[in-house]
């Protein structure tokens, strides 16, 4: 029995190492004195100091966070409305519309970027935060739409029918029955969209303007001159922040379940 149990452990170890050693290296090398990533030349906080002096970099980070938040939430509203509303629409070309709605994630990003560039300059929308938000929202919508649609299929129609039977109007049904049931799908869609928006380079570089820069663009366009460990420092801080948020949300989650349990007993 013992022999058999060893294999899963080894497997898990390899997978975990593959996934997390690179992250660990990024963190370690953010404290490296040298500019070259292959040589360890001593502990230093100089890249963190550089990072905090670089106002443009911090501005780009803020831009990226704002952009990801705004576009994932806008996409959540539009995508949810579409998923909930679509079954009620009686339209000749409905299946075509449904098919087209997932197109933004099927088309290669580079083409989408070019198309946005041409389109925005055609309608003379000034390039900047607005164009970025529109573009990001449009490629985030399909994620939410598909997740919510899948979730809706799994919900028993009788809940809504029972509510209507007891006198609830459409709005009440949506607000009190449907929305709470699909909320997990919306939440995971928003998280997915947030991540997609936060690391998008290809589309952003086409639709960004003179004044706005996002973090991924700044990092990616450093390839010409060489990426400095400043990026490692920034990644480490972002990693720490993410970890903190996850820990806090688990902690809060546990607290609420506990209090609910206590109330029930």
């Amino acid at each position: 029995m013992r022999k058999k149990a060893r294999f899963p452990g080894i497997y898990l170890g390899i997978i975990l190492a593959l996934m997390y050693v690179p992250i660990l290296l990024v963190i370690i090398y953010s404290f490296n004195e040298s500019r070259i990533s292959s040589v360890w030349s001593g502990f230093s906080l100089r890249w963190y100091r550089d990072l905090f002096r670089d106002k443009d970099m911090l501005e780009a980070l803020i831009n990226s966070l704002v952009l990801a938040t705004v576009s994932s939430l806008s996409a959540a509203v539009i995508g949810t409305l579409a998923a909930v509303g679509m079954p009620r629409v009686k339209l000749r070309g409905k299946s075509v519309v449904e098919y087209i709605s997932t197109l933004p994630i099927m088309i290669p990003e580079i083409i989408l970027g070019m198309v946005f560039l041409v389109y925005f300059s055609l309608i003379r929308l000034p390039f900047g935060m607005i164009t970025l938000t529109v573009a990001h929202t449009s490629f985030c919508i399909p994620y939410i739409y598909m997740l919510v649609k899948a979730r809706l299929v799994g919900i028993d129609k009788s809940y809504a029918e029972a509510a209507k039977d007891l006198g609830a109007n459409e709005w009440n049904v949506f607000w009190d029955i449907t929305l709470p049931l699909i909320l997990p799908a919306i939440a995971s869609g928003v998280l997915l969209s947030f991540a997609m928006s936060l690391d998008d380079v290809v589309i952003s570089v086409f639709v960004t303007g003179v004044n706005t820069n996002t973090l991924p663009i700044r990092i990616y366009t450093q390839l010409k001159t060489g990426v400095t460990p400043k990026i490692n420092a920034l990644s480490t801080l972002m990693f720490a922040a993410t970890l903190l948020i996850i820990m806090l949300s688990t902690w809060f989650g546990r607290k609420t379940t506990l209090s609910v349990k206590r109330r029930n007993t």
Partner: protein, 350 residues
């Protein structure tokens, strides 16, 4: 509870949209468009401090992206662009650049004439060079028995399996062309094929072919000799000053980056001021030490620190024996690709 959550979300949405739109507008602006990391932070800050002009630094990833954005904006939006030579040729031919007003650039005379009058701007009307890259040979003297003087020495059998090269087919094929005494940009297909044959003889010496971080392999001792880009040479030399840098005797091929002002730039005055500012010898020296590309400012050569000198400035006896790698006809390009594929296969790389 639910309602408050939603109210907070909506508020946040509006607040963040506003934050995104509200921008510094009152001060004079300079919209700089180039790769990230082209200037040290101090230089940008000093410029703003001296002139009061706020720099909006935005980035593109590839030259081609820059061209697409410039065409979509019809030469508006951006005040100053720094890009590679070959794309500037296209930019100028499509009328997307404006002629420089040299009366506003008092330091124009500081430019090293070797980098002027190039194919993309033969009369120096549109551009001011900012940094040049050259593919140089760098080697670890302790591990190599021979004295490397030029490309031809790389074929030496004693270098078996110790050589790392960049993955740019025009540069590497060009190396073989140069050894044969031909031009980088020859259109003669047979000559290119002959270079291909010559290149196959080099295959046993090749250990690594790759573009990024080749300097790391040289530093770690994985390879002893490398043919690589200037910025990589800089990083390698800073980490290990004992490495030897060679100007191949066969002649060298430069790539030049240059400034130009788009045809309908909103703030051309600010752009001229910035060009003039970075042409000052002391500012230039600071920029090139940071950037790690060849110094294109003659007046700054003397100010570059000694530890950087032998790989950021041209040697004293340099006679201008150089040739730029330019686009060739589709036929020639096809043979180049063929030759390169065959060579990589011979090196055991796909």
């Amino acid at each position: 509870m639910k309602k408050t959550a939603i109210a907070v979300l909506v508020l946040f949405l509006f607040a963040s949209l506003l934050a995104g739109c509200a921008k510094k507008e009152a001060q004079p602006q300079l919209n700089l468009f180039t790769w990230e990391g082209m200037f040290p932070q101090e230089v940008l800050e000093a410029f703003t401090k001296e002139t009061g002009i706020v720099i909006n630094y935005s980035n593109f990833d590839f030259n081609e992206t820059m061209l697409a954005k410039l065409e979509a904006a019809k030469g508006r939006d951006y005040d100053l662009v720094i890009a590679d030579d070959y794309i500037i040729e296209t930019v100028i031919s499509r009328g997307l650049a404006q002629k420089l007003d040299k009366s506003k650039i008092s330091n124009f005379g500081n430019i090293n004439p070797i980098y002027q009058g190039q194919f993309y701007d033969p009369k120096d009307e549109y551009t001011v060079p900012y940094g040049a890259g050259v593919q140089t040979i760098v080697y670890n003297d302790d591990a190599v028995d021979i004295d490397i003087k030029g490309y031809a020495d790389l074929w030496d059998p004693s270098l078996a399996d110790t050589l790392g090269i960049i993955a740019n087919h025009r540069v590497i094929n060009g190396m073989a062309l140069k050894v044969l005494g031909e031009s980088y940009n020859t259109e003669d297909l047979d000559t290119i094929r002959r270079a291909g044959q010559k290149l196959l003889e080099l295959a046993p010496n090749i250990r690594i072919i790759k573009d990024d971080n080749l300097q790391d392999d040289l530093l770690s001792g994985e390879i002893d000799v490398a043919v690589m880009y200037t910025s990589q040479v800089t990083m390698a030399k800073l980490a290990n000053p004992d490495l030897k840098v060679v100007f191949p005797t066969e002649g060298i091929g430069f790539g030049i980056m240059a400034n130009f002002i788009p045809s309908n730039a909103p703030n051309p005055d600010a752009a001229h001021k910035f060009i003039d500012f970075i042409l000052r010898p002391e500012i230039s020296a600071q920029c090139f030490e940071w950037l790690g590309y060849y110094c294109t400012n003659k007046a700054a050569d003397d100010l570059i620190a000694d530890e950087y000198k032998d790989f950021l400035t041209l040697p004293e006896d340099f006679t201008g024996d150089m040739e730029m790698i330019r686009s060739v006809s589709a036929d020639a390009e096809e043979v180049h690709t063929e030759v390169w594929t065959e060579f990589k296969a011979a090196c055991g790389q796909s």
